[in-house]
Symmetry: C2
Subunit: 279 residues, 2 copies
DNA sequence: AGGTGGCTTTCAATGGTTGGAATAGTATTG
DNA sequence: CAATACTATTCCAACCATTGAAAGCCACCT
């Protein structure tokens, strides 16, 4: 610190080898280890973890050992590591994760029972939607997303609902960015997007038609908390051409409202009328 | 370390005040912060977290900030902290958490649909069972446990199944300990417990009658993975006196077997016959 | 106004953390 | 079967992130 590195006058690289990159907070490193796990990487060896998290093996081992001791990770018989039940347990206390899910599940099931199509529940995390729950019969249409996975905001029905419910500032930030191309979904120019979001807010319904994994139509509706903010989105995904969307919409809206009510939201008679009505 | 504390000849306490208790790995501290969250404590203030995790506020703040930056925790508008979606997302990759659940859910739903009673799915973590999933209609009997919660091994149906499926060494260790008293469940002396576990292994069914939150009967059955080890337990909980247990047992066993098959388990014709039958 | 309690920032001392090197173990190859 | 390549683990001295008392804020209560 105080000493100036006056002694270094090597040819070019200060590669005296010493400590290449030291100085990242321990926690960040530990978390970056957790972040290595993904849908495709559910069981990893020490060296894989070390490589992907970009840290020397001994360091990774030390951190991982702690995580294992606590139960955040578990070690399989073959020496590989997987995410542990203990972590899952704590995560199940996440209000926006299992919290909403727990309250919504019975209603999702009702909707699923009646329609026998995919029913999805998602929340927003930063600039993406995270799938919290998905109900599917064993013989339903192919669907793109899995529970715990992420979906874009601009090109999915739940995404549009969540985006429409976000604060103005955030919406502008999203629209400022160029939309990344999503396979099988029609591009939407900014003007149309703005109109769509406004419609979603007014009607409480978002609709998207996609052709990629298969021809499907998604109909989504917002879920509100006691403060009236959009905390989640519920949607149904049906094969294009089966049940007409305008038939699905009421069912989806009704279900979403039922969940909202259970979250303490004082529903107004119409979505449009939202002035000073106090329960 | 190397230097002997020769200089200390104070009156009594070396309480020169300096660093009271410093020297716990950072990760452990961070994890102990996560561990503070529980069913009853889902949203906590900084000072609450610091108090329960037993560390000074500034330290807690520093650690928490990192966790928030990553998404393991989230901060509410009122300043309190809750478990974040990002953590939930990673945790959803837990093979024994969401993994089994994802595969089992459709089957659990079938069973639930037919019986309209509580359906539970649990795995073992150390000396307890952890509830992975619970399906309940809005109008079902009161039940003691919630998803993400823990239940004792010796006095619940799923617990007995998991215990019976654990390795011999572990079972002995459990039985060596005195059984903690569980309200509403009949005590079971060691001899009877041994016999019960043996029965469970033979029949693939465990049964427990409890009187506490309400009069109920639970019937559980093991779920096997491809290697033939018990990875989870499935159970149904019905009000005592409704459907007779011997009627439920086949349904529960059948469902558990269906899940096992999907996990890659090669079911044998009878549970009793398990010699050298391949494919 | 004074007091209380929670939250945040600062900062110098320090001990946990770090990663190269060496060792042991394991799979793959010639 | 030795050689090779890779992974996992242990060691340890240098070092820097970590630590928590102290003090400043802010909000709330009396």
């Amino acid at each position: 610190m105080t000493a100036t590195p006056d002694t270094d006058a090597p040819t070019e690289a200060p590669a005296r080898g010493k400590r290449p990159k030291q100085g990242e907070p321990v926690i960040d490193r530990a978390l970056s280890l957790l972040a290595v796990f993904s849908d495709r990487r559910r069981a990893l060896t020490l060296s894989e973890l070390a490589r992907h998290a970009d840290m020397p093996a001994p360091t990774a081992l030390r951190l991982i050992s702690r995580l294992v001791a606590w139960g955040a990770l578990e070690r399989l018989d073959d020496g590989r590591y997987v995410v542990g039940v203990r972590l899952w347990e704590v995560a199940s206390l996440s209000p926006r994760g299992h919290g909403v899910r727990e309250i919504a599940l019975p209603y999702l099931e009702d909707l699923f029972e009646v329609t026998r199509h995919h029913v999805l529940l998602a929340v927003r995390d930063n600039e993406e939607a995270v799938l919290i729950e998905r109900l599917s019969s064993k013989d339903a249409t192919e669907v793109a997303y899995r529970v715990g996975g992420r979906a874009p905001l601009r090109s999915t029905a739940v995404g549009l609902v969540l985006l429409a419910g976000a604060d103005q500032h955030f919406q502008e930030a999203i629209m400022a960015k160029p939309a990344e191309k999503e396979p099988g979904v029609a591009e939407m120019p900014e003007g149309q997007l703005r109109r769509t979001l406004s419609d979603v807010r007014r009607t409480g319904i978002a609709m998207i038609r996609r052709s990629h994994p298969s021809m499907t139509v998604s109909v989504a509706s917002p879920i509100f908390d006691a403060q009236g903010s959009v905390v989640a989105a519920l949607s149904i995904v049906v094969p294009d051409g089966s049940t007409p969307p305008n038939v699905l919409a009421p069912a989806v809206r009704a279900t979403a409202r039922a969940v909202s009510r259970n979250l303490g939201h004082q529903a107004t008679v119409s979505t449009e009328v939202r002035t000073h009505s106090r329960g």
